[in-house]
Every structure is written in C-alpha cells, then in structure tokens.
C-alpha cells in the first residue's frame, strides 16, 4: 500500500509534466496548425540551457529559470518562420511536411546536445534546483521537494493556461482559429500574428516544463528529448489530437501507469509497457479516446 501511494504521487508529478508538454504541443497544433513533433526536444534543450546558466552564475536559480524560459521562447520564434514558409510552399496547410521539419529540428537538437554539452554525458542538476533532502518520509513514502514543486507548478500553469484560453481575448482568438481558421480570418482575427502568439505561449509553457523536469529528474541526457517526444505524440494521439481535456486526463494517466510499473516490475520495462498500452489504444481507436479536434 505504501509503495502504491508513493508511486501514485510520483506518477502525478511526472504526469503533470506530460500534461504541460501535451498542452503546448496541442496549442501549436490547433493555432499555428503545425505538428511540432520535437517540441519536447526544445524543452530538453532548455533544460541544458538552465544547467549551463546555473553553472556559469554559480547556481543563481532565478537567472537559470529565466534563461530556460527565454531560450524556449527564442527557439520557437526562430523555428516559426521556417514552419510558416513550409505551409506557404504548398498553398495550404500541409501538416505532414511540418512534422518532417520538426523531426529534423529534433535530430539537430539531440546531436548538438550529445556533442556540445558535457561531452555528451548526462548532466546533473545542482541541489539548489532539485532540493537536497526529502521533505518528509513515512515508511517507504518519501516526498521530495521537486515532486511537490512539479505538481503544484504544474497545476498552477495548467489552470492558468485554461483561464487564458477561456477568459481572455487572445484565448478566444486561439479557440476561434482552432475551430475554423477561415471563419476566424473573416471576423478579422490576424492569423499570422495569433499564430506567433501561440509560438510564444508554448515557448513559455515549454520553459517552465524544463524547470519542472530538472526538479523531478535531477539529470538529463541527450536522448531524453526523443523519448519524451515520442511519448507526448503518443499521449496526444491516444487522447485525440488537439483535445486539451483529453490530453490532461491521458497525460496524468500515463504518468501514473509508468510509476506503478516502475514500482512493481523490475527492469527497464516501464517505457515498453507504457508504449504497448498506448499502441493498443491507437490501433483500436486511431482517432483517440476523446475524439480529435483538428
């Protein structure tokens, strides 16, 4: 029972990271109309930037977080014109080409991380960001500060995002474009400008997620981005592409599933089992559990 509770808590904190990533991915899909497959790789890149800045500034946490968020935003802004150009190439939104472009960006990130940072070895985050010791421990359950932070920041950011989406002018424009881009244009919503806003917003989400990942995992390796990318794409398909609520549910569920597998089955099977479950869902219901919104 104690293992169970511990792993549920673990799963919720990792799940909240998946939720953030899927939300950013879906935002780009719905508003900018691209499949940014490698979005999580951008996030892992930001983790490396945080690590680098922490190292250079002698663990100045604020500067590290700022650098992480701004690098993710900057990265999105640099790649945005490329995506826009590709969509214009074929006169209409070609979502497959955007996915291929995004994959290429992902390979570049992975390869740069494995060459240019720390000789390709995994990086370790300092205690300033991960927290030094468990907050408290009851039997087998130990709660690490990183988990608490991840879970609470995750909840705040996701609810903030939903408030933004449903209560503000920009959010209204996002939803209008997601539902009917041509109609949104007729109403007078500037498509390109709003698209760029979504790049910026998903950049901010990504930067914050990078901080959470650093708190939770305490380390990162060049291959992390690829793995998380595949999971995020799988989660968003299982939930139904573009379905934000679905992403919320499935993201948390994946986190819990993985944590339980880790808690009860030895060996490195958690990835494979998570993927088997998602594979079955995708093969049986290719449009996702909650329906596509694209």
């Amino acid at each position: 029972m104690q293992v169970f509770i511990a792993q549920i808590l673990n799963g919720l904190s990792i799940g909240s990271v998946y939720v953030l990533l899927v939300t950013g991915f879906n935002l780009l899909l719905l508003v900018a109309m691209i499949i940014h497959f490698s979005y999580p790789q951008v996030v892992v890149f930001s983790m490396y930037i945080i690590w680098l800045v922490l190292k250079m500034t002698n663990n100045n946490l604020l500067l590290g977080i700022l650098a992480g968020v701004s690098s993710a935003v900057l990265f999105n802004f640099i790649s945005a014109p490329l995506f826009q150009k590709i969509m214009k190439n074929r006169e209409e939104v070609d979502i497959n080409a955007t996915m291929v472009l995004s994959m290429a960006i992902g390979w570049i990130i992975t390869d740069v991380l494995s060459h240019a940072f720390n000789n390709g070895l995994p990086i370790q985050f300092p205690e300033e960001i991960t927290g030094s010791r468990p907050l408290f421990r009851i039997g087998l359950i130990s709660i690490l500060p990183g988990q608490v932070w991840a879970l609470s920041i995750g909840i705040i950011v996701v609810s903030g995002f939903f408030i933004l989406l449903y209560k503000t002018k920009a959010g209204r424009a996002f939803r209008a474009i997601a539902e009917d881009p041509a109609g949104a244009r007729l109403v007078g919503i500037p498509l390109v400008k709003t698209g760029f806003q979504s790049y910026a917003l998903s950049g901010v989400l990504g930067g914050l997620t990078a901080v959470l990942l650093a708190m939770l995992f305490h380390s990162a390796s060049p291959g992390l981005g690829e793995q998380v990318s595949h999971k995020v794409l799988a989660v968003s398909i299982v939930a139904g592409l573009g379905n934000l609520t679905g992403g919320l549910v499935v993201g948390l569920a994946l986190g819990i599933l993985e944590a339980l597998v880790q808690g009860y089955i030895s060996g490195n099977w958690s990835n494979a089992i998570a993927f088997v479950v998602m594979l079955i869902v995708i093969m049986v219901k290719p449009k996702g559990l909650f329906g596509m919104k694209v």
Binding site: N89, D111, A272, F275, L279
Partner: protein, 296 residues
C-alpha cells in the same frame, strides 16, 4: 576489395532499400517507421537462428523476409488507412518495444549485442561478395517492382490519395487495401534488409538500430525527392559517401548536417532534388537523343 569500399557499397545499398521501404508507403502519405523495428526483429531472429540453431543463412534470410511481412501485414490490418501521424507513432512504439525486449533478452546478447556470426561461403572474401551480390540483386529487383508499381493503376491511385484522400475514396479507391499492400511490401523488404544489415558486420548491436536510422532514411528520401523512386536511388550514395571525405571532426556532426540539409530542402525545394518533372524531362531528352542516333 578494400574493407572501406565494401562497407560503403553495402551500407549504400541498405540505405537505398530502406529509403524505398519508406518511399512506397509515403506515396500515399504514410511514414511507416515500423520498418526499423522490422529490421531489428528479423535481424536478431536470423542471427539467433544461424548462431545457435545452425540454420543455413539462406533459410534465415527467407525467414527474415517472411517474419517482416507477417508483422507488416498484421499491423496493416489495423492501420492500413490510418492518418500519417498515427502510422508514425505506431512505428515509434514498435521500435521502443523491440528495443526494450532485445535489451532484456539474454539469448540475443541483451545490451552487449550478438557477435561472431559465421562467414557465408566459408571465408571473409566470399562473404563480402555474397552479401554485396544479394544486396544489389535486391536493389535491382525492388527497383523493378517499384517501377512497375509506380507505372500501374495502383501507383496512380496512391498519387490520388496523396493529393486528396477523400476525393480518392470517392473515386472508388480502396484506401485500406492499398495501404495494406504498401505496408506489407515495406515490412517484408525491411525484414530481409535487417538480416543482411547485421551480416554486413557479422554482428548485431542495439546501436545499429537507433532512431538515427530514421534520420538517415528520411533525409535520403526527402532530399533526393519523395515523388519518384529515382530520388532515393541517387541521393543515398551521395549523402552517405560525401561526408566520408570530410575530416573526422566534421564527420561526427553528420546528423546535424543531414538535419540542416533536410530543413533547407523542405523550405527551398519542397519536393526534393529529383522530382517527377525532372525525371520526365530527362526521359524526354534521352528519347530525343536516341532518335537522333537512330536517324544518323
């Protein structure tokens, strides 16, 4: 034959074949990465059969083809008509699952890999010639099959699906059946190539089958041109060969170079370097020349 030339020729053939394995399903917009998993499954299986059960290489190779085809067929029952991103993620999941199983399976060497596969034909020289012979025989055979496919009514149907899936199905094209056909073909091919891929080095290791492979094959396909089979055929030797002449410091950035090249091509030449139009005009020029020769 020098060893480096042997590796260059054999890996180039593998790259051509595997890019074609991606090319055929992409004719109808499916990016079928499950082929990488097929390489791994058939390769390790054949390696195990040859090394531990002492099955002759030819039988193991055939089993590799068949296993690839069966997996491809079964999967295509579910995703024969699935949209691109669903096919993509099914491929990735298969790669993960296969990798994890191989990692945890001690009879195929786990993370250590499988070494010491025997020479086919008894000695290393014969082994190289046999492998190259089979690989290039496959290139010719598949080239011919894909050529026939492209110039048949089903090739036309695939092009119609690429342009507009709904319109195509309203014309009476059975998308699922066509999807099953191309997916099964790709997976069969990939299974056999996977066996040969391991036997080139006479060993199997997980690192041979990383996600980087997808990067290489995708770059070959999209830089060469995804709209005709000639694109991958011409791009594979160049893309694999040219970086070999770079200094080692640059060579280690190969994936970055490929990635940048792929982005540039997607942005500037969305159809790749060899398009249907260029193939058509080259064909036209050739036939004019032939006419001249015949006349004179």
């Amino acid at each position: 034959m020098p060893l480096s030339l042997y590796y260059y020729l054999s890996i180039t053939a593998v790259n051509i074949l595997m890019s074609w394995a991606l090319y055929v399903p992409y004719r109808m917009t499916q990016l079928h990465f499950i082929t990488i998993a097929n390489m791994m499954i058939s390769g390790y299986l054949a390696g195990y059969l040859v090394l531990h059960v002492h099955v002759p290489f030819v039988c193991a190779l055939l089993i590799g083809f068949v296993v690839g085809g069966i997996i491809g067929y079964v999967v295509s029952l579910f995703i024969g008509d699935a949209p691109t991103f669903a096919v993509v993620i099914v491929g990735f999941t298969f790669i993960y699952i296969t990798r994890t199983i191989v990692e945890n399976l001690s009879i195929v060497g786990g993370t250590m890999g499988m070494f010491g596969l025997p020479n086919i034909g008894g000695n290393p020289v014969a082994h190289r010639w046999i492998i190259l012979g089979i690989l290039y025989g496959l290139v010719v055979l598949c080239g011919f099959l894909i050529y026939r496919f492209d110039h048949s009514s089903i090739g036309r149907a695939a092009s119609a699906i690429f342009v507009d899936k709904e319109l195509a199905s309203s014309l009476g094209i059975d998308i699922k059946k066509l999807g099953m056909l191309v997916q099964t073909f790709s997976c069969t091919l990939a299974g056999g190539v996977g066996v040969l891929y391991g036997f080139i080095y006479k060993s199997f290791h997980l690192d041979f089958f990383g996600f980087a492979l997808i990067g290489v094959y995708m770059t070959v396909l999209f830089v060469g041109g995804y709209s005709t089979q000639w694109g991958p055929l011409i791009a594979a030797p160049i893309l694999y060969g040219v970086p070999l002449f770079f200094p080692p410091a640059v060579q280690s950035w190969r994936i970055v170079i490929y990635g940048v090249m792929l982005i540039l091509v997607l942005v500037l030449k969305p159809e790749g370097f060899i398009t249907r139009k260029s193939v058509y005009s080259i064909g036209l020029a050739l036939s004019r020349k032939r006419e001249k020769v015949i006349r004179s």
